[in-house]
Amino acid sequence: MKALKNSPKFLTGLIIITCLIVLALMEPYINDYRLKGHSPTEIGLYDIFLEPSWEHPLGTDSYGRDVLALLLNGLKYSLFIGFTAGGLATIIAVFLASLAGYKGGKIEAFITVLSNSILIIPSWPILAIIVLFVKKIDLFTLSVILAFFSWAGPSRQIKPQISSLKARPYVDLARVNNFSDLEIMFKEILPNFLPYILVGFSVAVTGSIMAETALRIVGLGPGDIPSLGQVINWAIYSGAMAIGQYLVILIPITFLILIFVSLNLINVGMDEILNPKLKQITGM
């Protein structure tokens, strides 16, 4: 764990994502204060297309909404969906990976083929059709559907680790020390496995947010959940590009990119620490 402090990549990633999460958590208070209790998505609250000013640092959009408020609100929803769906996906991935690692043989082969299939097949159009055809879709349903499509990535990351951890001599030694299967699982394997779960989790979060944003940009999914993708969708359909209102699109994009990049930096940092061989060779 100490080594993490020495990884600039991990630290940078951690700082950025923490800032974003704090921002999202403080959103209700900021927006409540700035909009005086109005909802960020309330239409016609202000004049339309106001230039950035002290009062509206990013201006207003074509429906007279404060762009900054929309963004913070969107960030909150995007992160929420990402973390829920990512969490669910990680649980699925860990479960299936453990099952594969524990049972081995045909079951392992089958699970590998299953997760590879989901990775190989272009799953987004399927996701889009499902979201289109499911009638009532709320935050949780959306997360579940997203999770169903994003567990394969983390599973691919986690599975080889499970197999390798299981074969470590210290696990054998624990067995010789008369540890039960459960004790081995929780006391010997899990502590060393946690970092990999974290890596898998951030892969799943990235995947979920990417898929969700893509859905929302083209106008699919629950319209009452104004995530960042939805904000971009509104901007596109209100012709923000044509009239040169670039910030309305660029800033949500920047937020999204920050999420993805910071999660990846965390992963790369962890990877270098978990695989000291790579670090040794790079000498970084």
Binding site: N6, Q280, I281, G283
Partner: protein
Amino acid sequence: MKEPLIEIRDLRVYFRTIYGDARSTDGVSLKIFENEVFGIAGESGCGKSTLVEGVLRLMKPPGYIKSGEVIYKGKNLFELTEEEFNKIRWKEIAYIPQGSMNSLNPVLKVEEQMIDAILSHTDTSKEEAKQIALEALDSVGLPEDVINMYPHELSGGMRQRVCIAMSTCLKPKIIFGDEPVTALDVVMQKLNLQTIMHLKEKIGLTVVMVAHDMAWHAEVCDRMAIMYAGKVVETGPVEEIFLNPLHPYTEGLLNAVPSLKRKFAKSIPGIAPSPLNWPPGCRFHPRCYRKMNICENEEPELKLIDSERYVACHLYNGGNWK
């Protein structure tokens, strides 16, 4: 005095780490004469493999050559450009890697791997090169069809022989073997080592062999050097070193391993130091049973004791060691 074929002067090979430089090979000077078999012994981490990699300029970052010279035919190998050095490599100075699974490129046939070295150094045609390769394979006792095989189709011992054939096919002057026969079963080790020695006689090679197990040196070497903590602690003719080890470390090492003839073994107390932080003074002093006060502060130099023996130990300061 005899002129050495190759002379290593104060070679230092370091590795950059986040804790500072790891001084793996830390000031080694050796003279190797024509037509001899020279052994380098020492335990893991003493810098014997990095020494060879340093001489052949095979270091990869974060490893680097801190300082030193390797004089071959009056030229310092470290001052040559990459291209100039590439001309000498293999053609005159060849290398046999550890007998590991990975010493051959898994995606190329044996033929291609043997030929590309020949083609890089000579003006032969592909057919001639193949002929040379076939002869080399024959000289190590491998059948012809090996040339059309891929490394994964060969056993460990055969791969090792391919490496030996490859390194001798251009009839170099000197071969550096880095643990050339480990990772095989003993019978195969013996066979392959004898193959190398057979080729040595045939071609007139000089062989430098790194091995951790002293018994192999006893079987084939003429002279040898013992390394400890990045430095050479003793050199001399093999027979004399085995009969009358001077340095306490050499003595300990010889007594540490039991053999079939001798059911006796005695460990050297203490633990091997780290290249990040060698002990001050004589690097062996924390483990030495003949430690003196001077050993803690002053590093002994490698001194000529007898006509051919050098030792780095304060015990032999006055030359009255007998």
